[in-house]
């Protein structure tokens, strides 16, 4: 018999469903994502650390779980999971286990069988909320992950040097990847272009440690960017050195902050694979993957920077670029996984700075 579970929001709303996965009680910030594919990638995306993730697409688990090499980090990162209809028997040539087995194995709790559309509407109207999955009547306290430095929790502890997969067009080029919770596909995107990558902990200063990097990439990551003070300090140094610097998602916000701009929290964020993103002064619109709760404040753009991309739906900032120097960043995910690959060219754009 299915074990019952409740999803309780901080405004007192209760959803009744069944417990799945580890069937523990957990708390976090409840968010929703509207992408229809790639649950395996979203679950392992460190940007979701501390969050109870709701998939608006109802059928989840259809293709099971691929081998670890295909995940976006080494483990499931979400605090909890909310699903409408969990597929018990998946079918895919890559599948190693079912989603439920994976959740159990990784000790992640889920609630299934609730009206995720109603939940989404609630979050859209009232903004993201704290919430908790209560299984087996074991109550837990609400917990606001944004009060903590989540970046520190998901970032590696030691630098790692990665040698390229293939190609020699950028042989000898070394870039630093400031891993604030990076998705693996950012790393893969560089390695497949023939670049050597120095993967750095969020607070590891490559300049102080004399690492021979030619450029800096600032990854995505969870939570409030203002928490990652040490990362901001490192980025400032890169800007001083005028080496090519490229920020992705949280990296967009950190670059803005490092260049003395500002950020703020969005009502319910963008977590989707269908966000129309327009390049300034063009008729070109890209469909992008996004996963962020904070945004760069355009009212206070850093000196020398201009708006590069913006969201066609709500006009929020989607990227900034320096007028002269090779500094730029985007709020969306050019590495996709999950989502459309429309903006993969940004990696080539960055690499051109080394030619």
């Amino acid at each position: 018999m299915m074990q019952k579970a409740k999803l309780i929001l901080e405004d007192g709303t209760i959803f009744h469903g069944q417990a799945a996965g580890s069937k523990r009680s957990v708390a976090g910030e409840v968010v929703f994502a509207t992408g229809m594919v790639g649950y395996d990638m979203s679950l392992t995306d460190p940007s979701y650390a501390g969050q109870v993730l709701t998939f608006t697409y109802p059928l989840i688990g259809n293709w099971g779980v691929p081998p670890k090499d295909y995940w976006e980090s080494e483990k499931i990162q979400v605090a909890g999971l909310v699903i409408s209809d969990l597929t018990i028997i998946p079918s895919h040539w890559q599948s190693q286990m079912t989603l439920d087995q994976w959740l159990k194995k990784e000790n992640i709790s889920a609630i299934v069988g609730i009206d995720t559309r109603r939940l989404t509407q609630k979050l859209r109207e009232k903004g993201v909320m704290l919430g908790k999955i209560v299984a087996d009547n074991q109550n837990v306290d609400f917990w606001d992950p944004n009060t903590e430095n989540l970046v520190a929790k998901v970032s590696p502890t030691k630098p790692i040097i990665h040698t390229p997969f293939q190609g020699d067009s950028f042989k000898g080029i070394k870039i630093g990847l400031l891993n604030c919770g990076a998705k693996r596909n950012i790393l893969r995107s560089f390695l497949s272009r023939g670049v050597t990558v120095y993967e750095l902990p969020w607070n590891y200063d490559p300049f102080e440690n004399n690492l021979p990097i030619d450029g800096l990439v600032i990854s995505n990551g969870p939570g409030d960017p203002k928490m990652a003070k040490e990362s901001i300090a490192i980025i400032k140094k890169a800007l001083d050195k005028k080496i090519p610097t490229f920020g992705i998602c949280l990296g967009n916000q950190l670059l803005a902050l490092a260049a003395s701009g500002n950020t703020y929290k969005l009502k319910f964020g963008h977590r989707a694979q269908n966000q129309p993103t327009i390049e300034v002064n063009s008729k070109r619109c890209y469909i992008t993957t996004q996963n962020h709760g904070y945004a760069v404040d355009e009212k206070k753009l850093p000196d020398g920077f201009k708006r590069w991309f913006y969201n066609a739906n709500d006009n929020t900032n989607e990227g900034i670029i320096h007028e002269k120097l090779p500094f730029f960043s985007v709020q969306f995910h050019p590495e996709a996984t999950p989502g459309p690959t429309d903006t993969e060219w940004l990696f080539d754009y960055f690499m051109e700075k080394f030619k």
């Binding site: 509207t34 079918s91 009206d115 066609a312």
Partner: protein
């Protein structure tokens, strides 16, 4: 670029298999998009039943064939700035390509808007297509034609085993096959090459997944994929024959987005501006090494691009309805040069059109077949399309959606495990296969075994298994509780059943409980479906849309309904749509439903449409104030009714499906507007209606209600054969038959009892040589407001849907017309009709008999409305809603004639006998205008694809009577200088009467000169084959001739009156006599 002020839009003509109502949807949206830009729209479409040809849509409408000859003349006359080719299916595209070939667009400076001719050619020419995609290293299936076994082996080596061998087309694929190795290839190729000169060696993609993407591009190179879809049936089954889900369910992120990326590469490379559909085959088990490096994953994506359709299509209509994204409307705007970023998302009105819809539900599309309607047809489905319509079900579980889809088909099944489904093998693809699979799973056949044999992904099969397991659990608990509905003693159990898509009726059957128990229990537990919006963005942004569906996998309603009938306030009505297109119910009822909803809206009513057919205009999000994309079943309509609390339901505009529900809905306490349900029953129930006729002293053919076969035979003997067998409450004459002898009668009675067991079967005298006439009328409180009398070309014995109709009637006595009007008024008064009705008559000399009466909109309502200029559907709606109006009468007899002609799709139905019978077989219709019947008839024939004979005619007439009747027409053909071929008997008869004919041997005689060789060599331009139903021996050879004509694409006339009229028409009219005049130059609009 010059400013576009006037655009010529090509429609798709008559509905036929493979090209149905979806193009009414796309054309209508295009017209809307163009008119918003103040562009004048000239529409060419002979399909008079469409919404796009209604008043108030296009600025000018030509009911003329979509043929280069006519379109060129229209261009000369109208001088448009631009032409749009991609909204009228393959018909419009082909016509455009032919015009371009003749450089007509250049000559008259007409700009082709949207996708260019050059691009269209690249997608239509197979070799050009393969070469084009090869330029950007994209993969198409490898295929090569060979003439020897040696060549075959060489090609097979390059492609790699297993390979597919395809024999010549005309052999019907019987020499095709798959070869695993060299030895098998030699075997199959040798056998095939012994019969045909050339075979195809192809890459074997059988059982690969079939996936489609709908891709949009603007001229600034912005691209989006609006939707992807996965066919549950794998490669080998035409996508029109497949059960399809959207979005794809078994593709992971890599597969989904890599195919998306390829789709965008394709649309960019081809340079399409607007919309295209791309079909992929995807290897479900690609070679890969789980331990291999991540970066090798992309190379393990094993796909082939099967085809690209550079136009709106059936799939794009489905994608549009599945996502809420108005594809056709946007494509039309892009053709005018807009950017995707300039356009708004018309659903949210807050976001832009340049995005990809996110769904928070899934849809299941299920085809509707009518193979049983065709004599001698086969039941296997495959790589060519045979289905006649489809439904789309929306749900938040696959189980919910597919069970809803089954009910939407309107074939009497309550779910995927309904015992009424024919017990066929699950291994063979047939219309019933999914039911057979579900049954096999229920009977413990291993899912993996079925998956392997059918190529259907286990994902879907396991979801079906969930339904099976649940049914089993009901059975177990039923045994425990001795069959009482206590099976559902908890709310959770019943809720789960509803979430898995079980209907109350099915649960009643499964639990063995009494009628209504489940419904009462459901109400006790307060289990009701939730109303959800299809909002394109998965609730990310608030949406204004009233595009809705119901689900039991939900906890709250997205929209709250206001009660109707607050004093002085706007009232609310629900219009029931027609459900899936099928033989006997198609776009004409969509026209009626839409006209009804729009009329109600203009009378300040709040309007709601319920329908489940993605190929319709009525399911466009802006046709009514609310649209429920839902089942037209008692249970669902009642749920919606209680949520919406309307003033009432309109059941008379959507054809037979809603009409049949009237009684049951009334019993549930729902208000039906218009004619009372008791009256509907008196007209529909054969025996009640006959009694009514007797009481009103209205003549009718001798009839009797049947008790058993013995009595029937005695009765038939008494009144004399032939006799007509017909069940009550049926559409398009299902199981209706003419029996010429007792053996026939016995067989037909059996068939009739299977179709409709609930209602009585009646047999009546069959009048072979009478004229058939019908009247379409609208009455209010029993008083006729308007009427139109239609004359059939064909004599009785041909279903009215298969008959050519003439309006105004040409050959009726004034006395006959007066009698008909009188009878119509009598019936209207007796049944106190308020709304539309139709009565069919037989006339012999001046004697008029009633054969049928329907108190609902008829198939011919759009025809009579558009020909008379009196909108019958509008008038009927106003009558139903109680709006004051004056009767509409035409002042005088018009100086034009219109002919409505049926469109058949026999070529699509393997083996079907293309004859006209009392059971309907046509899939669509056209109507054209002329100064006289000959001009109108000829135009209408050309519009259905008939080409006029230039050199020769083949004639085969069975029986002396037919030969005598046709003698004059044969003489006419002879005088026109046509060479006449005939079979032995016919040739002899004509020779005796001074007509020079050449005798050909019949097919079975296997002697030369043989008719088959002449047909194959296209030495015959027209086949006239009139058979005699009494002489069954000749049947077979006649059938072979008819079938060969269809298979070789040669026009066939198989009815005496039609053949006579056709001959007279071609003898009197030359192409130049066919006037190019728009609709409004014939008709004056009255209301």
């Amino acid at each position: 670029m010059k400013k576009i002020k006037k655009v010529l839009l090509l429609g798709s003509g008559a509905l036929k298999i493979g090209q149905a109502g979806e193009f009414d949807y796309s054309g209508s949206q295009a017209i809307k998009a163009l008119k918003e830009e103040s562009i004048k729209v000239i529409l060419v479409n002979p399909n008079i039943a469409t919404i796009q040809t209604s008043q108030g849509f296009a600025n000018t409408v030509y009911f003329l064939p979509i043929e280069p000859y006519f379109v060129k003349k229209i261009i000369q006359k109208e001088k448009p700035d631009g032409i749009i080719l991609s909204f009228g299916g393959q018909t419009a595209l082909n016509c455009g390509l032919l015009l371009a070939k003749d450089r007509i667009f250049q000559k008259y400076q007409v700009e082709v808007l949207g996708t260019s001719i050059e691009t269209i050619e690249k997608t239509e020419d197979r070799q050009l297509f393969v070469n084009t995609l090869d330029q950007i290293n994209l993969k198409c299936p490898q295929s090569q034609a060979v003439k020897t076994v040696k060549q075959a082996l060489a090609v097979a080596t390059t492609i790699g085993y297993p390979i597919m061998i395809r024999g010549g087309f005309s052999l019907g694929g019987q020499d095709s096959g798959m070869a695993q190795n060299r030895k098998q290839l030699v075997e199959i190729a040798t056998r095939a090459l012994a019969k045909v000169g050339q075979i195809l060696i192809e890459e074997y993609l059988d059982k690969w997944k079939e996936v489609e993407y709908e891709v949009v591009r603007d001229k600034f190179d912005n691209c989006i994929t609006v939707c992807n879809m996965e066919n549950i049936d794998p490669m080998g089954i035409h996508t029109g024959e497949s059960i399809v889900v959207a979005p794809s369910q078994t593709l992971n992120n890599f597969e989904y987005h890599k195919l998306r990326e390829i789709s965008i590469k394709v649309i960019r490379h081809l340079g399409i501006v607007g919309e295209c559909n791309i079909q992929f085959a995807l290897n479900p088990n690609p070679k890969w090494d789980p331990a291999s490096h991540f970066s090798s994953l992309t190379s393990s994506l094993d796909y082939r691009i099967i085809e690209v359709n550079a136009r709106l299509s059936r799939s794009s209509a489905l994608a549009s309805k599945a996502t809420g994204y108005p594809l056709a409307y946007i494509a039309a705007k892009l053709a005018l040069g807009y950017s995707l970023t300039d356009l708004q998302n018309s659903v949210t009105k807050k976001t832009i059109a340049c995005f990809e819809p996110a769904l928070d539900y899934l849809v299941v599309k299920f085809p509707r077949w009518d193979l049983a309607k065709f004599l001698k047809s086969q039941t296997e489905i495959g790589s060519s399309m045979q289905s006649v319509g489809e439904v789309m079900a929306v749900g938040r579980k696959f189980e919910e959606a597919i069970q809803k889809a089954v009910r939407m088909l309107d074939i009497g099944f309550e779910g995927i495990l309904d015992e009424k489904a024919p017990k066929v093998s699950w291994a063979k693809p047939t219309p019933w296969r999914i039911f057979a699979i579900a049954r096999a799973i229920r009977q413990k056949t291993a899912v993996e075994k079925i998956a392997q044999a059918t190529g259907i992904d286990p994902f879907f099969l396991y979801k079906l298994k969930n339904i099976c397991d649940f049914e089993k659990s009901i059975k177990v608990s039923k045994q425990k509780t001795h069959g009482t509905p206590d099976t559902f003693n908890s709310r959770d159990a019943l809720l789960l059943a509803k979430q898995l898509g079980f209907s109350d009726k099915r649960l009643t059957t499964l639990t063995g409980s009494t009628k209504d128990k489940i419904r009462q229990l459901r109400h006790k537990f307060d289990i009701h479906p939730s109303v959800k919006q299809i909002d394109t963005l998965a609730a990310e942004y608030p949406a204004e849309t009233n595009y809705l569906y119901l689900t039991y996998n939900g906890e709250s309603d997205d929209v709250v309904s206001q009660r109707s009938n607050v004093k002085g306030q706007m009232s609310k009505v629900i219009v029931l749509g027609s459900g899936p297109y099928r033989i006997g119910s198609s776009v004409e009822f969509d026209w009626c439903s839409v006209t009804c909803a729009q009329t109600a809206e203009s009378c300040n009513f709040s309007t709601i449409i319920i329908n489940c057919n993605p190929e319709t205009v009525s399911t466009d999000f802006d046709m009514a104030q609310k649209l429920y994309f839902e089942e037209l079943t008692e249970e669902t309509i009642t749920e919606i009714y209680h949520k919406e609390k309307p003033s009432g339901l309109i059941v008379s505009m959507g054809g037979q499906t809603p009409n049949n529900l009237a009684t049951k809905l009334t019993q549930r306490g729902l208000a039906i507007l218009g004619t009372k349900v008791t009256s509907i029953d008196r007209a529909e129930d054969r025996s009640k209606f006959s009694k009514l006729c007797d009481e009103l002293d209205i003549a009718q053919p001798v009839w009797a209600k049947l008790k058993n076969v013995g009595e029937a035979i005695v009765f038939a003997q008494k009144i004399g054969y032939p006799v007509l067998v017909r069940p009550s409450y049926v559409l398009s004459g299902a199981a209706m038959n003419v029996a010429f002898n007792p053996q026939d009668l016995e067989a037909y009675l059996l068939a009739a009892s299977q179709v409709s067991a609930e209602y009585p079967v009646v047999i009546s005298q069959f009048h072979q040589n009478s004229k058939e006439i019908e009247i379409d009328a609208v009455a209010k409180n029993g008083k006729v407001l308007c009427q139109a009398i239609i004359e059939h070309v064909e004599n009785a014995g041909v279903h009215s849907g298969d008959s050519s109709m003439v309006l105004p009637a040409q050959k009726l006595y004034t006395q006959t017309i007066e009698q008909i009007k009188k009878i119509a008024q009598k019936i209207a008064r007796e049944l106190n009709i308020t709304g539309p009705f139709n009565i069919q008559f037989l006339a012999e000399n001046n004697r008029v008999m009633v054969i049928e009466c329907n108190l609902r909109a008829s198939r011919s309502l759009p025809f009579v409305s558009k020909v008379t200029g009196i909108n019958f559907a509008k008038l009927a709606t106003e009558a139903i809603l109680g709006i004051d109006q004056r009767p509409e009468t035409r002042d005088q007899r018009p100086d034009y004639v219109a002919v409505k002609a049926p469109q058949f799709s026999f070529a699509r139905i393997k083996g079907a006998d293309p004859i006209l019978r009392v059971e309907m077989a046509s899939t669509g219709e056209v109507a054209c205008f002329g100064d006289d019947i000959y001009e109108a008839y000829l135009k209408s024939q050309i519009a259905t694809g008939v080409s006029l004979p230039k050199k020769s005619v083949f004639i085969s007439l069975a029986g002396e009577e037919n030969k005598i009747k046709f003698q004059e027409a044969a003489k006419t053909l002879f005088k026109m200088g046509l060479k006449i071929y005939a079979t032995a008997g016919t040739a002899q008869f004509f020779k005796n009467h001074g007509i020079d004919v050449t005798k050909l041997y019949k097919i079975h005689e296997h002697q030369k000169p043989n008719v088959l060789d002449f047909l194959l060599a296209k030495k015959i331009d027209l086949v006239i084959n009139i058979f005699d139903p009494y002489f069954k021996k000749e049947f077979d050879d006649d059938y072979l001739i008819r079938r060969a004509s269809i298979d070789f694409g040669i026009p066939l006339l198989a009815n005496m009156q039609a053949a006579q009229l056709f001959v007279k028409a071609i003898s009197l009219k030359k192409p130049a006599d066919l006037k190019i005049l728009p609709w409004n130059q014939y008709v004056t609009f009255k209301n």
